[in-house]
Symmetry: C2
Subunit: 257 residues, 2 copies
Amino acid sequence: MDFQLHQRVISWLKTAGDSLIASLNTNLMVEEKTNASDLVTRMDKEVEAYLTQQINTHYPDHRVLGEEGKGHSIEDTRGVIWIIDPIDGTLNFVKQGRFFGIMIGIYADGQPLAGYIYDVMQTDLYYGIVGQGAYLNDRPLQPLKINSLAESLMVTNAHILVGNQFNSQALLGASLGSRSYGCAAYEMISVIRGESALYLASRLMPWDFAAGVAILESLGFKYSQPDGKALNLLTANPGIFCNAAVYEEVLQIINLK
Amino acid sequence: MDFQLHQRVISWLKTAGDSLIASLNTNLMVEEKTNASDLVTRMDKEVEAYLTQQINTHYPDHRVLGEEGKGHSIEDTRGVIWIIDPIDGTLNFVKQGRFFGIMIGIYADGQPLAGYIYDVMQTDLYYGIVGQGAYLNDRPLQPLKINSLAESLMVTNAHILVGNQFNSQALLGASLGSRSYGCAAYEMISVIRGESALYLASRLMPWDFAAGVAILESLGFKYSQPDGKALNLLTANPGIFCNAAVYEEVLQIINLK
């Protein structure tokens, strides 16, 4: 991957992050999308517009798929596509003022090239360049060692567990316990750092998983739909995002009859 | 409360926190207590011994109640009692290297005088001096505004929700969602900062809640057992720890017949 492109992404993320921090004491103009916990603010829109504009200016032959629809209408995965989530965890952003992230995944012909997750309030930038490793604040990322689900924590959300979706109560019982941060960026970071062996999600849009998947790929970690099928970059997906050491075990527990 | 005592506590917490950070790349000598997710390390023991020794030296007429039993055997709440948790969230400490805290509560005749929660990896020190306010890193703590459960997040753990203990699924449905950090220190901090309206716990020992309760008291927040009874400082308790704006609503939902 192009070094100049990488430096540009980092610079854009810092600029966007600074604007989010500055916005926290202002009127965020919160609107509900599908329900009271699915929010959008003026900052989701502003950051997505900013990132899209930068990409369009510097890479006019690339396309942009963004959560707030400021990018292109995309129906195939040909060429280079930037998949961006201007604020992942908007509910946390609004209600907690932390535990949110900005995410960018870059894909070529449907394959991950690079992923960036910026934990704005921690000023921690995680990225992975496929084939060239994963990094945290420009140092090689060294995930904590994961051996088995029985010796590990997992991350998922409360509703999945309460509904026992994907046999999640069996996963919970097979692990040391579950954590829930309420934002895909944080759940992905937990797996990437080796703090959790598994992130289980019931419905992620491409911008929720594209960046994380590219970082997982850079680390040799495993991801798929819970039935083992590949994730689809153009639709909503359920997903499992795993340390390689537990992927087969997780698949087996989820798909027990 | 005595200023010199306050300064001593802060100094001890910083020293203890530094020793925890330094220990993260060493052999922690992890032992299981009641089960695989109930752990103790040499650092739990060392930090508790250090704090207990400091308290005994400077305040020989005070008593210490500590998680690892380095303090006194305590059967009544007379006089001044220090209630300490050397590492709250030992499982997170061992498996994640963050999301843990050191907690100290100081009580006189069973009433909270002061509470300290030190988020070691963030170097964030939260404290409350009853009657004199609550602070984060020596600045007045200004919790985010909470209006109602319907407009707020909550924190509790996965097993409570899966088992629908304390009508927790109804609480989940009445809120914007639940978060779970896996450590009482972090769950308390979430309520103290106004990031969550409620922390619901099924079984906390005195060292799990003593510090948090003193900070909540400093803020005018509310806490009790889920049936409304007062917490008992000498035994295990289920507990609700709430922003005052939602306490009555939470009690009502939990105790619906």
